[in-house]
Symmetry: C5
Subunit: 92 residues, 5 copies
């Protein structure tokens, strides 16, 4: 899974019908993961901007979040409380 | 999911029969995502050149767009109205 | 999907039995995609060296080409006639 | 599979219910693999900080670890005793 | 699929039970593929150190090698005899 911070969100009105009701967040992955990038992930846990989160990618995002038939390839599946092994976590 | 702008399209006459009727668009991912690249995605929402879109990749593209048996690994599944957290969205 | 040009092929005699009969081509992805690399893809459309092609990756390659049980993760699924949005296509 | 060393862990209280009981470790992939990065993987073998491990990614992480319906895309599936072909293994 | 040369192997005693009996090889991908890296792949064809091989990744590795329920995301599925289109193959 990826670790990152929620830095924004996206609004889309014209979209695949299976995405209606989904909340699209922009997550910036931690620099400590060796590759800072921003991905769009569907929120599955009620996370908000500024929070550090766990993101599941690939088929795990659909199947693990009970949206097996939706065109979702990334989902926020946990809010991080604390941790070690990444500079961003050590500061948390 | 990826965010990008549609910058072109591709025509293919000799192709896998399950792709007949598919519209192939070239999407340039946002520089703000840390990695600008151009990918080919099948249009699922009636998007056109110049629009900012959401692209689902992997098995989500096939299954989420009701083309479970087609050789599709990327699909445009939403047109972006507005957003925050990416330079390209802030300007939109 | 990836876009690239077929630049070579590979012969393998000792291989997984589900690959018997498969034709392995080397495809160089377009520089315009931001990342030139060479991948091995199984030909599904009768493509030849020098042609510009569409490559499906991941589970789409197996399932979309009716080889659901074969160890294939990339397949050539279309020959490109024309297009726009990539330098290589504009020249085509 | 990836090879790396466990360098930390992550605690998440608010998470997808299928992740309850999962232990999230941070694994730093070997420099010898050409790309040092830190990923979050669910522990499947009782591994601890400092150990060199094998990490399975994608659907293999869910299905191979009997958590087919959980939003898991990376799992620690082996602890490495010895090996060759990577600087980190030669030193082990 | 990836092309690479087998450069080492890994021994793991404490591992997921579905991996018992699997032989883990380290494969260095060809520089000609644009990205030299070393990956761990399970041998499916009796390949040895120094051989050039084809590696299937993702779900194709599990399903194509009749280990659908094992946590395997990369498998060696062919030994390369000859080829063209990659510097390493031209020299073979």
């Amino acid at each position: 899974m990826l670790i990152g911070k929620i830095v924004g969100s996206v609004v889309s009105t014209r979209k695949n019908e299976k995405l209606v009701g989904s909340k699209f967040m922009i997550v910036e992955t931690c620099a400590g993961t060796g590759d800072t990038k921003r991905v769009v992930a569907v929120d599955n846990v009620g996370a908000g901007i500024g929070e550090m989160v766990l993101v599941a990618t690939g088929s795990a995002a659909r199947i693990g979040c009970d949206q097996e038939n939706a065109p979702i390839d990334a989902a926020i599946v946990g809010i991080i409380d604390s941790g070690s092994g990444l500079p961003e976590l050590d500061r948390a």
